[in-house]
Amino acid sequence: MRFLFNQHKEPIDLAEVNPNMTVLQWLRRNKHTGTKEGCAAGDCGACTAVIGELATIKGKKVIEYKSINTCISLVLNLNGKHLITVEGISEGNRLHPVQSAMVRANGSQCGFCTPGFVMSLFALYHNENEIDLDKINEALSGNLCRCTGYQPIIDAAFLIFETKDSDNNDYFSNNKSQLVQSLVRINEDEPEQFSYTSNDKKVTYDAPTDVNVLAKTLYKYQDAKIVSGCTDLGLEITQQLQQFGHIINVQNVHEMKSIHENDSLIEIGAAVSYHSAWTLLVRSFPELEPLLKRFASRPIRNWATIGGNIANASPIGDMPPALIALNATLKLRRGDNVREVRLQDFFISYKKTVLLKGEFIKSITIPKLVKGESFTVHKISRRYEDDISAVCMAIKLVNDGPNLKEAVIALGGMAEIPKRATMLEKTVTKYWNKRDIAKRSYESLKEDFCPLDDVRASSEYRLQVSANLIKKTLLNRINKKVPNLAEPIEN
């Protein structure tokens, strides 16, 4: 197991480590305490570092820099990557441009969040050439600061790009080709499966690259735990204090990381991250963009996968309602068997799915919209950025000319699983364009669902706001625009 670390010339070779160990634990145990723990749950960003990963763009090998919440990622997932932390970006006494901008803009007060912000800004620095407020907010959406009120940090971000052309670049730009070579080297003779067993033989970790190997391994070790982006699983380790005996990482499986598209559908590998799927998804479904923007935060989106979101089977996962409304199907594989299941039939009850032991999600297929079909998604949460939905509602309307023929409506947050609202669909189809659509929707929603009162919302709010979202959809369709306030608005 080898990875590059900061500006060290030689890769780190981890001899003994518990596969359940997080990157943050590894860092801090080894006295790299610049990276902080604020929550150990992916919520605060104090632990943010950046991963450099080899990618091929137009036939050329390049390094992609992506921010990551080290508190909920596994140290073994670093294999073949470059881990960059706040201690590793300045050169001697010369601060990195993002660091000096933070100093000049008074971007730190107590300083505890600062390393995380610095690293998110470092990723931004490497990913963009020009900047605007939306990009800054996007890049820093996973970093909480309790002291500064963010404005000084936003100022710092602008400052970075004011001088980006003229600064002397950083270590990583200046040593691009060596770094690519080093990464290539540690990824050479990539086996079909990287396997690791802890010295005490108690914990095994496998990271196959071939889907057949994955299928075989999983079939053989049916109690093994699949890990993908680790943004749900990580919490089981750090919050519920779980330790897994066998972990199988699917994020290196080539076939599960690819996307296929034709005129009628998109097929997304289950291990494709939200970040990687974004462009393609949004090209076919522009209406998904506001939802994707509000899906977790940038560092989570960099690693979290759609497959993981679905397999996790949370009643408040954001993608399932959208994908159910779009009539997505899953390819499930167990051993050599592959079966297709409609997503709406995938969920059985709270956190239970049709997935069998030894079976995994290979890919998700989404049919494209055809003429007469339109699509809308709404997300209601306490905060616009990085928050779990109280209600997530996805609506596909099928029109026959000017007349509404069918409505497919799926909701999350309303029941123990994400599911379609059959009564509501009928009501909407029948009474669309009627003045009292909200009231009627409410009555139907009450038949469809009996939502919970919980920490995110009351049952009543869930029902009433959902009904109003139908009305809002209608108003927007008939051009009485009611803007989505989560989106930037003109004053």
Partner: protein, 771 residues
């Protein structure tokens, strides 16, 4: 547009008043500023984790620790029965370090486990089973009221005859307002590291705003004289009041283990434990009655403020008092009856939080003003103006302090003019007329905040300044650095006194071994008190130096001046370093302590009259919001602030405090909602459910101005004013703007918006209006 190269309008000849970066800014951005958990652990360090009660109220039947002791990595488990002096507390010792016999809130620590690593200690703690016979808990304020569960007598502040005045008024309103609490969510959770030195002595690194209190409590718990314990605090990763009392428990537990094992002991709370174990900002419920004239001038007002204090005494009396001290905000109340009740509940002990009760008192009166405006169909800013304190008359507070430094009228006017309040009001009225589903709201709210600890004896501070032979200066004082920039400000004072560059001055960790018996760094008083104490120390050293120069060079006292890194000696001058070297050779004392106690203040807490505050800080803020009435969602689109910091010691730091305070206040009033279930379990135990403002919540138009060419009426350090707390309350304008937008749904009809104004609450508030 960036604000970094902003013209701060400062005098570049002085170190004081310059926009200087935070003393640790470079360390911060490199990740090399150590917090407690980053300190290189001494060999053999062991780690503590806590097992908590999972019910809010009950009798402990048994605690099963066997499973946990079975783990090889576990050293021992500490229970209440193992601790001789079990109780601690800031005012009363009514907080057991670990629950004994009964548990009084969900999340109360019942046992502490010592193990070889943080993770193992947590794992072991999770194996402890506490069997509790549940009793009925009192969770909410109404429950406490009903059962008459109070910590102490109500606090009453009266002026004139409120009841009589109200009965005579032409207009009257009555109402209620409920105000939520707030989790501190300092990014660095509570942490301590105890290192045994020799004999019974301990050095404790603690993330505390109050090293002296930690020292005194640890000494009490260990039955040792206070001189045996040294508490050191270099920096905190945020505190906001939450580490004034909140740091003691974990420090005491570490100390107990350290004394028992003679090993270094560390503990840091996982976020969930931190949110469960430690208290928050007090929630309040306010009942009010007000009588006023046609202009909205308040003639009489009655307010009953019920605060949820939690299970213990803590600082609640002072906090509720400060709520009463600020229930006038910037308004003259000729007849007022203000009563504060201290509700005792089965919840964590609510405690200090930036503003210390002031924000709740202020929100209460601002809500009343808004209701008056709705009632009379007047613009709320006009009603505010009619009620503002005046300079010569109408300037006595309900507690009898005459306001001598009032600038609220001109400050609000300046802001309203520059931010085009009147024009925007018309635009918004027009917009709201033309839009059914989207509504806008606008509000201007003032802040007048009293500066000083209301307990007189706390208003004292000490400092220690050493000048070394090479002219470098070592500074120590009793204040702690939690991000607020205190260290750089005091260093600026010292550099300025000696006329040297800031780089000459090294600020050092706060230590009880250097300055004893310090007050908590709180009440925004840090730079007022410690700046003055440091200045005093400098002056004493300078006096030594001047006497020496007078003798040595045969010049007059007035001819000795310190500036430009030179000591000016009449017509001659000498570099500072050289002069210091010379002074040393000539046996001049080059170090000194310094001391300060705030003058003029006094307060009779029986009569509730006096001059509790040395001076007031002022500010005003205009906020504009847009609300989606279909969903209750809203967005803060525009904020303009004008804030008074006297003559700023450091405008960059002050600006940061204003912006940061505002956003924190906005969180309190908007998205941050603490939720308990009916059985008293706190459900919001992490940032996934408890939503602090995130970066996108920063308003796009965010215009923050420090009032220029300003000073302090009183002789404070370089005529500056305190800035830590007051700006938080500027955010009240956001809440008022939301309320304003809601009321436009049904013209002029009062609405029952509560705080925090979560989207859901806004939604139902609108629904109620439409009914």
């Amino acid at each position: 547009m960036t604000k970094t190269d902003k013209e701060w309008g400062t005098d570049s000849n002085r170190v004081v008043g310059q926009a200087m970066a935070h003393d640790s800014s470079i360390l911060h951005v490199k990740g090399s500023a150590p917090y407690i958990d980053d300190i290189v652990e001494p060999k053999g360090t062991m780690h503590v984790a806590f097992a908590l009660s999972d019910v809010a109220h009950g009798n402990i039947k048994s605690i099963e620790i066997k499973e946990s002791l079975k783990m090889d990595c576990v050293h021992s488990v500490l229970l209440a029965e193992d601790i001789k002096n079990l109780n601690i507390g800031a005012i009363r010792h009514d907080e057991p370090l670990l629950a004994k016999d009964e548990v009084l809130f969900h999340g109360q620590a019942v046992a502490a486990v010592l193990a070889d690593s943080h993770e193992n200690a947590r794992k072991a703690a999770s194996l402890i089973r506490v069997n509790i016979e549940e009793l009925e808990p009192l969770i909410t304020i109404p429950q406490a009221k009903l059962k008459e569960s109070f910590l102490d007598e109500p606090i009453k502040m009266t002026k004139g005859d409120a009841e009589g005045a109200i009965s005579k008024s032409v207009h009257k309103i009555t109402g209620k307002l409920s105000i939520g609490g707030q989790e501190h969510y300092y990014l660095e959770s509570q942490a301590a590291l105890a290192i045994p030195t020799e004999g019974d002595e301990l050095v404790l690194h603690s993330s505390t705003q109050n090293p002296s209190e930690v020292q005194h409590l640890v000494a009490h718990v260990l039955d040792l004289p206070q001189h045996s314990i040294e508490v050191v605090t270099r920096r905190m990763g945020g505190a906001f009041g939450g580490k004034e009392c909140g740091a003691s428990q974990i420090a005491c537990i570490c100390a107990i283990f350290a004394q028992k094992t003679k090993l270094p002991i560390k503990s840091r709370l996982p976020r969930r434990e931190d949110m469960l174990m430690t208290g928050k900002r007090h929630d309040f419920e306010v009942e009010y009655k007000a009588g006023f004239d046609d202009e909205g001038c308040i003639e009489g007002i009655e307010m009953e403020l019920y605060a949820r204090c939690g299970y213990s005494y803590d600082l609640s009396v002072a906090i509720v008092s400060r709520a009463l001290f600020h229930a006038d905000n910037a308004y003259y109340l000729p007849n007022a009856s203000l009563v504060g009740h201290l509700c005792k509940t089965n919840t964590a002990s609510n405690t200090a939080f930036r503003g210390f009760g002031g924000p709740q008192g202020m929100l209460a009166i601002e809500n009343i003003i808004e209701e008056i405006a709705l009632h009379l169909n007047l613009d709320a800013y006009d009603v505010r103006k009619s009620n503002f304190y005046q300079k010569e008359a109408n300037n006595e507070t309900p507690y009898g302090q005459l306001i001598e430094d009032n600038i609220i009228n001109e400050l609000a006017h300046e802001l309203a003019t520059s931010a085009r309040y009147k024009e925007r009001r018309l635009d918004i009225d027009e917009f709201n007329k033309n839009n059914t589903y989207i509504k806008k709201g606008l509000a201007l709210s003032p802040v007048k905040f009293g500066i000083s600890f209301t307990k007189k004896f706390l208003n004292q501070a000490g400092a220690l300044v050493h000048v070394y032979k090479d002219g470098s200066i070592y500074l120590n004082h009793g204040g702690t650095e939690m991000g607020q920039g205190l260290f750089v400000k005091v260093a600026q004072v010292v550099a300025n006194e000696f006329g040297v560059e800031l780089g000459k001055v090294k600020v050092s960790a706060t230590s009880t071994a250097k300055v004893p018996n310090t007050s908590a760094t709180a009440a925004s008083s840090g730079s007022d008190l410690n700046g003055m104490a440091a200045k005093d120390a400098c002056n004493r050293i300078k006096n030594n130096l001047i006497s020496f120069a007078v003798k040595q060079f045969n010049i007059k006292q007035e001819d000795v001046k310190f500036y430009d890194s030179q000591v000016h000696l009449g017509a001659n001058q000498m570099p500072f370093d050289e002069f210091i070297g010379l002074a040393y050779i000539n046996r001049v004392e080059l170090f000194s302590n310094g001391y300060y106690s705030t003058p003029k203040i006094h307060y009779d807490s029986n009569k509730r009259r006096g001059r509790p505050f040395y001076y007031y800080s002022y500010g005003a803020c205009i906020s504009e919001v847009v609300v989606d009435t279909l969903t209750g969602e809203y967005k803060l689109t525009s904020v303009d602030i004008l804030h008074d910091v006297g003559a700023s010691l450091n405008p960059a730091i002050d600006y940061g405090q204003i912006v940061g305070g505002f956003v924190q206040g906005m969180g309190w009033l908007c998205s941050e909602e603490l939720v308990w279930d009916d059985s008293g379990k706190l459900l919001t135990t992490g940032a996934s459910t408890y939503k602090l403002p995130s970066i996108g919540d920063t308003p796009k138009h965010f215009n923050v101005k420090i009032k220029p060419n300003n000073s302090n009426h009183e002789e404070t350090i370089y005529k500056s004013k305190a800035v830590g707390e007051p700006p938080l309350m500027l955010a009240i304008s956001v809440w008022l703007a939301i309320k304003n937008a809601i009321s436009s749904v049904k013209d002029g009809k009062p609405n029952d918006l509560v705080a925090p104004a979560s989207f859901e609450r806004v939604f139902f508030c609108i629904n109620n209006l439409n009914k």
